[in-house]
């Protein structure tokens, strides 16, 4: 170095000559710097390709694996059993409405009695809470008494006397503690001054081992009498599903056992190989023999599926009979259910009216599933395409199930999309308006204040926004909705997540849109003014139309930003994996949903690497990546087109 500096001292011109420059491996310093920057760009591309490759590598086997899983689902007869379950669930969901109508009607018809029951039950809960300790003591003594009674009953003649002594001691203890409990109850009753005398009396007469007090039962009976006729048809409908439930649960075990065999078979070869290796490495002859025995015990042959599912085929006539009866029962129920108009409660009327189409639907489901059931063959091949449609169009995402995992992408996709659209609907007007204002209309002082402030929002960590959404925004939204008379049961929902994501999208959209507007040549503006346009006309007719492709690109990048956001949606979206019910109109905004990003974050933690579930999550990640990439590509294209124009 000293030599070099001396030489540059001696002749300053030489420092510009090639000879004076320091080189490394024959490449000059400037060249190295240039290579470094160029290399960074290259590295980014390499990373992008590596991520693509990694995602594809993990996801690519999803479809073949899923196909195998669906094939086993059919082979083991689980599909058959699910056909029964579908019928059960369809009947149950129709019955649920009838049951609700019945219970609401009952509550209304017997309002006076039920009010008394509720008052009694509330007081009872309070009294019981007060006497809880005494109750626990009594309960333990009671257990002991039961044990002592058993012992006494089983005792030999010789031990009878001592057993009797124990029994009597236990009886006394139980009696004393019962009295103590009753004393506590009476003390608690005294505190309940607002109760009517008959309720107080009933409370004092309670026994610790009594399920429902006679007072309550009398009242319940009176209530039941008022809806006796409705009760008959409702109970008939309730009980009609029982044979189906029994058959379903019975066959469920058969299919589950068959499936287990199929699953074990998958790893059998590996297990056998491991045991054989153990044979090789066994230190003693005994150990070798044991490993050999274990190796021989591993069954490599596929289970005899025909034999495994034979009970299902045998059950088909029974299933047909049951379905026939069920259809009959649903039809009868429709006949026998009271006319909604005769009910006294409007909500009950509504529920009963809703029940009618549900009952029709249940009939359709029962008929259709029974038909499929009769044609069902366990050895029919599942088309490979089914695993693809099953993923992209599947409406169920069921994992870690004891029965069968399903990987349907649709609920996640609709959830992500819905939240993103809500976020953009909120963010775009604000951020674009702010961009126009700051760039065109604001004074310099205002602009220097507004710009950094909006961009500062970006600095808030998303987990902080998420906690804000849980603790403050959710509650305020619900209070606000209640004030306006809009039902909002869940505080974690689409709207809550959408608002927070809008907040995150604003800086992105604002900054990019402002850039786009800024890039409009000032000649356009000047020309517009020269033609006598006002400031406002210039902005709306000249500036915005010129910058529009840039603004759209900004919006698209904002979309890319929100659809990929994870923490906020994980904490705030409510995580319900089902397609939102759009029939609710704008009410859909108050529903919880799950998202692609949230699900990946939630489920990746404990999944076995390389399992089907793992691959499914990577498949979701891959689709998400593709969406982001496409959105980015489109916006880049738009920006390019725009800059050519400019």
């Amino acid at each position: 170095m000293s030599k070099q500096s001396r030489s540059s001292d001696s002749d300053s011109q030489r420092s510009f000559s090639k000879k004076g420059r320091s080189t490394l491996l024959g490449i000059s310093k400037d060249s190295w710097i240039q290579k470094f920057f160029g290399g960074n760009a290259l590295l980014a591309i390499v990373f992008l390709l590596a991520i693509c490759g990694f995602l594809i590598k993990e996801a690519v086997f999803f479809f073949p694996d899923y196909h195998k899983s669906l094939q086993l689902f059919r082979q083991s007869g689980q599909e058959y059993v699910t056909l029964l379950e579908d019928q059960y669930k369809a009947q149950k969901s129709a019955y649920a409405l009838v049951d609700q109508a019945y219970n609401i009607e009952r509550a209304n018809a017997g309002a006076a009695e039920l009010e008394k029951i509720t008052a009694f039950a509330t007081a009872r809960n309070k009294v019981l809470d007060f006497a809880e300790e005494a109750y626990d003591e009594w309960d333990d003594a009671n257990d002991e008494l039961e044990d002592a009674q058993d012992e006494f009953d089983d005792a030999e003649e010789a031990d009878k006397a001592s057993a009797q002594a124990t029994l009597e001691a236990a009886q006394t203890l139980e009696k004393n503690l019962r009295t103590a409990w009753k004393a506590d109850v009476s003390a608690a009753v005294l505190q309940q001054s607002s109760l009517s005398e008959d309720v107080k009396d009933a409370l004092r007469q309670m026994q610790p081992d009594q399920g429902m007090s006679p007072f309550q039962m009398e009242l319940q009976k009176a209530v039941d009498a008022k809806v006796a006729e409705f009760a008959i048809s409702r109970n008939a409908l309730r009980d009609s599903v029982k044979p189906l439930e029994k058959l379903w649960l019975e066959l469920r075990d058969v299919a589950a056992a068959a499936k287990d065999k199929g699953v074990t078979l998958k790893t059998a070869a590996e297990r056998k190989a491991a045991y054989l290796e153990a044979v090789q490495n066994a230190p003693t002859p005994e150990a070798r023999q044991k490993a050999q025995e274990q190796a021989d015990a591993v069954i490599l042959a596929a289970p005899d599926w025909d034999k495994e599912v034979a009970p299902l085929y045998e059950a088909t006539p029974r299933a047909n009979e049951i379905s026939k009866n069920l259809l009959q029962a649903i039809a009868t129920a429709k006949e026998n259910l009271p006319d909604p108009a005769t009910l006294t409660d409007s909500l009950a009327q509504e529920r009963l009216k809703q029940a009618t189409p549900e009952l029709v639907k249940a009939r359709e489901v029962v008929t259709a599933r029974t038909e499929t059931l009769n044609q069902w063959r366990h050895d029919e091949k599942v088309g490979f395409f089914k695993s693809v449609t099953g993923f992209f169009l599947g409406a169920d995402w069921v994992t870690n199930s004891s029965w069968q995992d399903f990987y349907g992408f649709l609920p996640l996709f609709t959830g992500s999309l819905l939240i993103s659209i809500v976020a953009l609907c909120i963010a775009v007007p604000f951020s674009v308006a702010a961009a126009i204002y700051t760039n065109q209309l604001a004074s310099k002082g205002e602009a220097t204040f507004i710009k950094p402030t909006i961009e500062f929002i970006q600095a808030i960590p998303s987990v902080v926004l998420g906690l804000f959404g849980i603790l403050i925004l959710g509650e305020s939204l619900r209070d606000g909705a209640e004030f306006l008379g809009i039902p909002m049961q869940e505080r974690l929902n689409v709207l809550n997540a959408g608002i927070l994501l809008a907040l995150m999208a604003v800086p992105t959209v604002f900054t990019l849109a402002e850039d786009a507007i800024n890039n409009v040549p000032s000649a356009f503006r000047d020309a517009s003014f020269a033609l006598g346009a006002t400031k406002f006309q210039t902005v709306l007719r000249v500036i915005v139309p010129t910058a529009i492709s840039g603004i759209i690109a900004a919006i698209l990048l904002g979309f890319g930003r929100v659809i990929g956001e994870t923490m906020v949606v994980l904490l705030v979206a409510g995580n319900k994996i089902s397609i939102p019910d759009f029939s609710d109109g704008l009410g859909v905004l108050t529903q919880p949903v799950h998202t692609m990003t949230g699900l990946i974050a939630q489920e990746t933690g404990e999944v076995n690497q390389g399992s089907l579930h793992w691959r499914a999550l990577f498949m979701v990640a891959l689709v998400l990546f593709m969406i982001s990439l496409t959105v980015n590509y489109i916006s880049q294209t738009l920006i390019r087109r725009y800059s050519l124009k400019g």
Binding site: K89, K92, S93, A96, D99, Q100, N103, I104, A107, T118, A121, T122, N125, D136, D139, D140, G211, L249, K290, L347, D396, V398, T399, N400, S401, S402, W403, P411, V463, L467, I470, L471, G474, E475, Q489, E490, R491, L492, L570, L571, G574, N575, K576, I577, S578, P592, H594, A601, Q602, E603, G605, E606, V607
Partner: protein
């Protein structure tokens, strides 16, 4: 570290011993997804201790092989073994958690001293031991208990097991069907990667799948938070969270969710140690210590189970 909000509300006065500072860490972990990091740290500690064990083995150390259920083997037994060693016992541990069935095969083959199981031994498995002229001895290691919680403004205080099943599978959708005021039920559950998710399915849902309208929350704390803020909410939590303000644990089949009622409560199960013959030597010492010592009980409560009440 970010402070977790409202943590102060958690402990319930009657649950003092079941809630300690470690639970706050659990809350943070559940909420902020530190599982991975913690697991890695645990594995590292475990590996280090294994290494140390290896070095110490030279100085004539007893070794205990424990195999079986992953419910016990995931957290409880490894942490118990650490605490046991910390208590001054020079014992090496080999713990393999591959499911309850593996406990019995390992005991039968003589490759483990203690078997861990989250279920009773099946008759068929018992017969294998009888055929060999051996006796299988069962010791209760701890209890696993799940409380079903509703909002404290909800009048429903008791549910049957069938009602619990129907609510969580989505067959019952309205509170009016189980004696409450009309209102559609919001169901909050743990997410699929939680062990409780599966346990609850087994104990409370007849192994059926959760309804598609259930909301999957990150942890106990989040479920408690949502149910306490939603009059129509229902969820299940570990016992330590059942006392959160605004919540009420319902009785199931008339039995309340309390440590003292664990034997009768339907959503509770026993976790077992199995040994061939009465436990002897180091195995006996470890089992006795983990069941009856204060430290052992503390570890068991910390990982969310209930220690066996001492006689």
């Amino acid at each position: 570290m970010v402070t977790c909000p409202k943590v102060t509300k958690l402990p319930h006065k009657s649950l003092g011993p079941y809630m300690n500072s470690e639970d706050y860490t659990d809350v943070l972990r559940d909420t902020f997804f530190l599982n991975k990091i913690l697991t890695t740290m645990k594995v590292t500690t475990f590996a280090t201790s294994l290494l140390l064990t290896g070095i110490m083995a030279v100085s004539a150390q007893t070794k205990l092989v424990i195999k079986g259920s992953d419910t016990l083997g995931a957290k409880m037994v490894p942490q118990l073994s650490e605490a046991y060693k910390a208590a001054g016992n020079n014992t090496g541990f080999e713990i393999a958690a591959e499911g309850s069935s593996s406990a019995f095969t390992a005991l039968l083959a003589g490759t483990a001293e203690i078997g861990m199981s989250s279920r009773d031994v099946k008759d068929k498995e018992k017969n294998d031991f009888i055929a060999k002229g051996e006796e299988l001895v069962e010791t209760t290691a701890a209890w696993d208990m799940i409380a079903v919680v509703v909002n404290d403004k909800n009048p429903v205080r008791n549910l049957t097991l069938k009602q619990v099943e129907d609510i969580f599978t989505g067959d019952i959708t309205d509170w009016s069907q189980v004696g409450g005021a009309p209102g559609s039920i919001s169901v909050y559950t743990r997410n699929t990667s939680s062990g409780t998710y599966k346990t609850f399915q087994k104990l409370g849902m007849n192994k059926r799948d959760y309804g598609s309208d259930t909301q999957k929350m990150a942890g106990n704390q989040q479920i408690a938070e949502e149910v306490s803020k939603n009059v129509n909410g229902i969820g299940y939590v570990g016992l330590a969270y059942a006392g959160t303000e605004g919540l009420k644990a319902t009785k199931v089949e008339g039995v309340s969710a309390k440590p003292s009622k664990v034997a009768k409560y339907p959503l509770a199960r026993k976790l077992y140690y199995y040994t061939v013959g009465e436990p002897t030597g180091e195995a006996k010492k470890f089992i006795d210590w983990s069941i009856s010592s204060e430290k052992g009980k503390e570890v068991i409560s910390k990982v969310g189970f209930i220690p066996v009440p001492s006689e």
